[in-house]
Symmetry: C2
Subunit: 177 residues, 2 copies
DNA sequence: TATTGTTATACTCTATAACTATA
DNA sequence: TATAGTTATAGAGTATAACAATA
């Protein structure tokens, strides 16, 4: 579907550019330059849930990244911290499975979170192959702050699509969490 | 949020693995290995629209890729073909902007679609810097088939979340198309 | 033998910058 | 100068395979 995932660094994206004149020409085709974005037909795309969901997901991640930019926490990091916080002692495999992250990728995510002293890997007493994951004291404090910022982000979502729609959405998609 | 986006090449992903026994132990902690996925608390994550949307988007893309696997068309390719089909003569910049794809990335996408003779880049008569994009005859025929498969995919979505919920979703997210 | 964490590789996607040819 | 298409590079993220330690 469509791309473009990260922060809009220049933050001008779709503001006031394009005066939005001219309907499409009489004849057969359009003469390229003067065709505005929202005059370009989406055709079948408009009826595909995946297209809308993808565009929305991009918007929502951008807002999350922007809102938690000051603390340098991205959505995946937030989800890992949250799950460890709620289930201390979990193994890496368990976290990876629960969140649908590759275990190979989780290794790097945890390396970074451990370097920032938010998470610690303890040797499991019962199975010495695995690590028991815990938040550090600092991690718990930090997570509380991240949560407040994430709640702010969530308010942005509610503003964007409406409070009731947000709740309806959560309900419709509850099977996917 | 959570990762894991592409085709499950080996297609075993989450089938029948995990017998799903044991409730969590009595004592203080859990002894890692025997904690099943759905016993792991999500905590704040469950209330975040972004998390659910991300998981849903992964599911929906996987189904799209699987359903259109025989014709080797991925969501982004489908969106590009659809927009060109509905707006012949469009420039690369216009397509990129409309779909939120980087123009640098669209170059490669079009290279591949042009090699498969689904799309052709014609020199624009009015602005020799730009290309006028068109579907080839073959591209039009192929797109009709892709559309039928995409409709099948869309029926999978309706089965998964319910017909009415799918429509509600499209309505809620209509601002993002 | 199988599993956990790890390392490494390849491929997709995103974000940028720079180049060229035009305007 | 600015824009369209292109090339190149760096960084996430994903998919795999393989290895060491342990079960």
């Amino acid at each position: 579907m469509a791309g473009n995932s990260q922060m809009p660094k220049t933050a001008k994206s779709r503001a006031g550019l394009q005066p939005r004149f001219g309907r499409k020409q009489a004849g057969n085709g359009r003469s390229q330059g003067d065709v505005m974005d929202d005059e370009i037909a989406l055709d079948a795309l408009a009826g595909h849930a995946g297209y809308a969901v993808r565009r929305f997901q991009i918007w929502i991640f951008q807002d999350f990244i922007r809102t938690l930019g000051a603390v340098d926490i991205r959505p995946t990091q937030y989800s890992v911290l949250t799950v460890i916080g709620a289930n201390p002692g979990l193994s890496q495999m368990a976290v990876a499975k629960r969140l649908g992250i590759e275990r190979a990728r989780l290794v790097h995510l945890l390396d970074s979170l451990e370097q920032r002293e938010l998470v610690s890997r303890l040797r499991s007493a019962t199975d010495r192959r695995s690590h028991a994951l815990h938040l550090t004291a600092r991690g718990r404090t930090a997570l509380a702050q991240f949560r407040r910022l994430a709640a702010e982000h969530e308010r942005h979502v509610a503003e964007k699509i409406g409070k009731e729609n947000r709740e309806r959405l959560l309900q419709i998609l509850s099977a996917f969490t």
